[in-house]
Symmetry: C2
Subunit: 163 residues, 2 copies
């Protein structure tokens, strides 16, 4: 089933008041979309974060991401810096998936890693506290975020286990 | 320092390329804003979630939230249902803080709890996997999310500990 159909079905459930939450099938379709993604981009100017994300993608048997080296400082001036960065990447290049990591909201609000599909729809995400709270090296924080973003929608490291 | 000043300072740091991440002072100001908030609203039509959030607010020595009972099904038709719900609440009533919990992105993407200030700026958030993945009762999931949203910006249960 295409994501469009998933969204439309949930729309009718919400409109008719019968929606009771995410279904197994919806999660499975998100995983399928991510697994089928061939062109993945990471907008950033920090190679270290790209390496960390690609290590996790490999562990989960997913395609490697390309580093889209763009100036993302302007995104920090928006209300949702990480989301803005992801959408900026989407509008600049052709891809199946964008993985962007940046600030969640106002300065001090910590970071979010978001995964968007080719239309800019949010498939999954994960959060980290501000660095001064968690104190992890950036590479470890990004690894943990990428892992959490995949695991929360049912991915497991062993490719065979999650449909 | 007002949040406006925090945002403006970070803006100049980003523009001049010297920004190195969230600072202790920024986190402290977010906590101060939340601690000073008197009117807190939770848009929802599920009393159980409001009770769970208020229990956590009490544990952290924060003001209790009012239940803003509105129809939020329409928000599920947007790209970021929880954010849309929070902004809808903000536009309907006068408050210092909105705490909204709902779907993160497309159906199957799990949930996010977001905390916005009186202008709609994101102060903090937390995520849960889809219910069919985590399997927790909704009340427990909401308690955990509310706790995580506060702890990630440096709040501790004992009021005195975090400035």
């Amino acid at each position: 089933m295409e994501l469009e159909q998933i969204v439309e079905n949930a729309y009718y459930e919400s409109v008719t008041g019968v929606r009771t939450g995410d279904t197994k099938n919806e999660c499975r379709e998100i995983r399928r979309y991510i697994r089928d993604a061939e062109e993945i981009v990471i907008p950033n100017h920090n190679e270290e974060k790209v390496v960390a994300i690609n290590e996790v993608l490999e562990e989960f048997g997913l395609s490697q991401a390309k580093h889209l080296q763009i100036h993302t400082d302007a995104c920090d001036l928006s209300r949702m810096p990480a989301m803005t960065k992801a959408i900026m990447a989407l509008d600049i290049c052709s891809c199946d998936l964008v993985i962007a990591r940046g600030r969640l909201g106002i300065p001090g609000s910590g970071s979010i890693l978001v995964i968007l599909d080719k239309k800019g729809r949010i498939l999954t995400a994960s959060l980290s506290p501000p660095h001064i709270v968690h104190g992890k090296p950036v590479s470890e924080a990004v690894r943990d975020e990428m892992t959490a973003a995949l695991e929360r929608i049912g991915f497991t490291r062993s490719r065979g286990k999650s449909e």
